[in-house]
């Protein structure tokens, strides 16, 4: 197969490329230039994809003896991933840009360009497994629990899955991957992992949002409407957030307060006790299924955070005004589910589908009386 190996300059994608070469594929390495932000061209940034990273990827390609190019996807990245990030926060929702990057960049822009240029598949250093099932390729969790990335990959859908390769699928630990890198003389074996959001170089997401969306001072109120503090922009707050509220005085009952609602129309942040965060019903839109969409309630587990626990639930496919959607009945209460988050449906280690949270509530309380996590998906 002709395989395009996406190489970020990190150890995971370098080893993935190495394994693709050893599997006998005809491999070409590509580093995606995604940033138009000069700050990120400094070395040592926390995010990804500085010049140093491009150089590391080039050296890895040299060691593997494969051609190497840098492709500029920065315009598409800005128009999809960054734009979505900003518009979701503006609307009071909580986006996951890594999901959007996989959706729009790695497994669309990059994959489609690769296909047009004659490649059969894109290989990445994601921790996930593809298994050949009776109905085609299946996406499964990686045995590496701590690093499993099936959650951010679930958005890709079956057609793209069929054109993807995850060579790191069998590794249970990062140490094994680093050992593989060392064995092959890849100098990135000791390189630290990048973390946080790749396009916020200094890790200050709130600062980034303020730069791009401006400061919009407003009030923090409790569930009675009593003003208890101020904020500089409702968009910077997430449902379930406890830290960084900057409230002058404690709640009357002395218990911690959490963000239970973000109303960007009135630019108000509502805080309340943790019980108000509790939900057991989730609606999600833009559903993508890797199996036939379940028309009846089906037993599954669901995961709502990138590194959260999957909880037992039941799911069924529905359609909302905007297309395929899903309804989820949780087997236990969860707290702090924000619209915009990605929800992934599993059966065992297998990914069945994914959706974007459009609402969450408690089944035993009338919706109108609820506060929290009901920012409507416009």
């Amino acid at each position: 197969m002709r395989v395009l190996a996406a190489m970020s300059g990190g150890v995971d994608s370098a080893v993935a490329a190495a394994l693709a070469v050893e599997a006998g594929h005809d491999v070409v390495g590509v580093h995606m230039a995604l940033s138009r932000n000069r700050d990120q061209f400094r070395t040592g940034s926390r995010g990804c994809c500085s010049i140093e990273d491009a150089g590391d990827a080039r050296r890895a390609a040299d060691v593997l003896g494969i051609p190497y190019y840098v492709w500029d996807l920065s315009e598409t990245f800005e128009e999809t991933v960054v734009a979505d990030f900003l518009s979701e926060y503006s609307a009071g929702r909580t986006p996951n840009p890594c999901v959007r990057c996989n959706e729009h960049i790695k497994f669309t822009a990059l994959l489609d360009k690769a296909t047009a240029l004659g490649f059969d598949a894109v290989a990445t250093g994601h921790y996930a497994r593809i298994e050949d099932g009776p109905d085609g390729p299946e996406l499964h969790r990686s045995p590496n629990d701590a690093k499993d990335q099936s959650y951010v990959l679930a958005v890709m859908g079956p057609e793209r899955l069929a054109r993807s390769v995850f060579p790191l699928g069998r590794f249970a630990t990062k140490d094994e991957v680093r050992a593989e890198a060392e064995r092959r003389g890849l100098s990135v074996s000791a390189k630290p992992d990048s973390y946080d959001i790749c396009f916020v170089a200094d890790g200050d997401t709130r600062g980034f949002l303020r730069d791009r969306l401006g400061e919009k001072p407003g009030e923090v109120v409790d569930t009675d409407g009593t003003v208890v503090g101020e904020h500089r922009g409702a968009f910077a707050y997430t449902i379930g957030q406890r830290k960084g509220l900057g409230l002058g005085r404690p709640a009357p009952d002395g218990r911690p307060r959490y963000v239970v609602d973000v109303d960007t129309e009135s630019n108000t942040v509502v805080v309340g006790p943790s019980e108000l965060l509790s939900v057991d019903r989730i609606d999600a839109s833009s559903a993508v299924w890797l199996v036939a969409a379940p028309q009846e309630w089906t037993d599954v587990t669901v995961q709502v955070r990138a590194h959260g626990r999957a909880v037992p639930a039941q799911v069924r496919a529905v359609s909302d005004g905007g297309g395929p959607a899903m309804e989820v009945r949780l087997g236990e209460h969860l707290r702090g589910i924000a619209s915009g988050q990605s929800i992934v449906v599993y059966r065992g280690t297998r990914v069945l589908g994914q959706g974007t949270v459009s609402g969450a509530h408690r089944a035993d309380v009338p919706v109108a009386a609820q506060v929290g996590a009901t920012a409507a998906h416009a």
């Binding site: 061209f41 010049i51 598409t76």
Partner: protein
């Protein structure tokens, strides 16, 4: 000892980026590298090294129509351009503090533009970009107007002898005539012109001229700035005071030897070399037009020349844009077919930018993305051109398909 050098196998069509060292230059380099001596030392070993340098200087001067005392050896074209732009700016300004303006053509290489803009950011310079026409030729009326309006404030004018991307040969003598009427010195980057068109320092009248080794069969890492003795020129790099005190540093004897051999050969064989490459280039251009009819030739008409017979376009240069295709797709597809060409765009931190040269000639940004420059050299053959023409139709088709994909996603048009 016979040494042969050749570019990588496959069709190498990027001689404007760099070209193989000639066997004679390589031999001169290796034999000089086997000897030891600092040309600044006063004892025998030093004097022997010094002699090698001075003989090289005389040969270089003779090849370029200059006096030996006008030749300053440097570590290459970029250093020479920096020395010219900064050194002349500082020299002229210390003579008269009103002289803050620097006039450069809009199509200069970054090695001229970037020092100029650095001076603007750090030394109070004011940069004027002189416009060019659709073929990349300097607008002389714009220069005339600037000179008339601001002569007393202008530190220097810098206009390249020939453009590295689209091959435009500039009206250097006219630039000199206009600038000298107002007492303003002229620098020209002649890197691409040497060995292809006639370059004579004295006859041109320019005050300073950049040349480099590795575009003409010499080594990378050596070049020269030719500068009139009476030109106000401050040093950029200070130290032992070598090269008239304007360019300190131990002289690289092997590189200088090889450079002078390459220069002498390049200038000596220029007419036949230029004729051979022009014919090969014309075959390439006709071929591209035939196999990729949507391709647009950028730069001057290869067949046109000035009344006194100087070609309007470098004989070894061809440049096309391919609508609907992106440079990185074209580059990858050609490279994997064994054909090596340049997208001609500068790389800013690994992210290719559309060429400022194309944009200055009025090419739309979307069209400027799908650019390819093909440049020939001493080792180029008809087989290289055939390899390109064989690969190109498939390459363009796939690149346009990939470009459509990007356009649908709302990214690059």
């Amino acid at each position: 000892m016979t040494v042969t050098t050749s570019p990588d196998p496959g069709a190498y069509l990027d001689h404007a980026a760099t070209t193989p060292m000639s066997p004679a230059a390589l031999e001169a380099f290796v034999s000089a590298a086997g000897r030891t001596g600092n040309a600044s030392s006063l004892h025998s070993a030093g004097r022997a090294a010094r002699r090698a340098v001075e003989e090289s200087r005389e040969a270089a001067a003779a090849a370029l129509g200059a006096r030996p005392s006008e030749v300053i050896f440097t570590a290459g074209g970029t250093e020479s351009d920096n020395l010219a732009v900064k050194g002349i700016f500082w020299g002229r300004r210390s003579q008269d503090s009103r002289r803050r303006r620097v006039l450069v053509s809009a199509v200069e290489h970054h090695a001229v533009l970037d020092p100029a803009f650095w001076l603007a950011g750090h030394a109070g310079a004011e940069i004027t970009l002189l416009p060019v026409d659709a073929e990349g030729r300097l607008d002389l009326d714009a220069l005339r107007a600037e000179l008339a309006a601001h002569a007393d404030e202008i530190a220097l004018v810098s206009v390249m002898w020939a453009n590295n991307e689209v091959g435009t040969v500039q009206p250097v003598r006219d630039v000199v005539r206009l600038a000298h009427q107002h007492g303003v010195p002229v620098h020209t980057d002649a890197i691409q012109a040497v060995g292809q068109v006639e370059v004579d320092f004295a006859a041109s009248g320019v005050d300073a001229m950049t040349v480099t080794g590795h575009k003409i069969g010499g080594p990378v890492g050596v070049g020269a700035l030719l500068a009139r003795r009476d030109l106000a020129l401050e040093a950029v790099s200070h130290g032992g005071g070598q090269e008239r005190g304007v360019r300190s540093g131990t002289l690289d004897v092997p590189a200088i030897r090889a450079f002078s051999v390459a220069l002498t050969d390049a200038v000596g064989r220029r007419e036949e070399h230029a004729a051979r490459l022009a014919a090969l280039r014309d075959t390439l251009v006709d071929g591209v037009r035939r196999v990729a009819p949507q391709a647009v030739l950028r730069g001057p008409d290869p067949a046109s020349s000035t009344p006194d017979g100087v070609p309007d376009r470098l004989p070894a240069n061809a440049h096309f844009t391919f609508p609907g295709a992106e440079g990185d797709s074209l580059l990858y597809l050609l490279d994997s077919a064994g054909v090596q060409a340049s997208t001609g765009s500068a790389c800013q931190a690994g992210v290719p930018q559309p060429s400022h040269v194309l944009l200055a000639t009025g090419v739309e940004e979307a069209d400027a993305r799908g650019a390819l420059r093909f440049s020939l050299g001493a080792t180029s053959t008809a087989q290289d051109v055939e390899a390109l023409l064989d690969a190109l139709p498939g390459v363009v088709e796939r690149a346009r398909a990939a470009g459509l994909v990007s356009a649908r996603q709302g990214g690059a048009a």
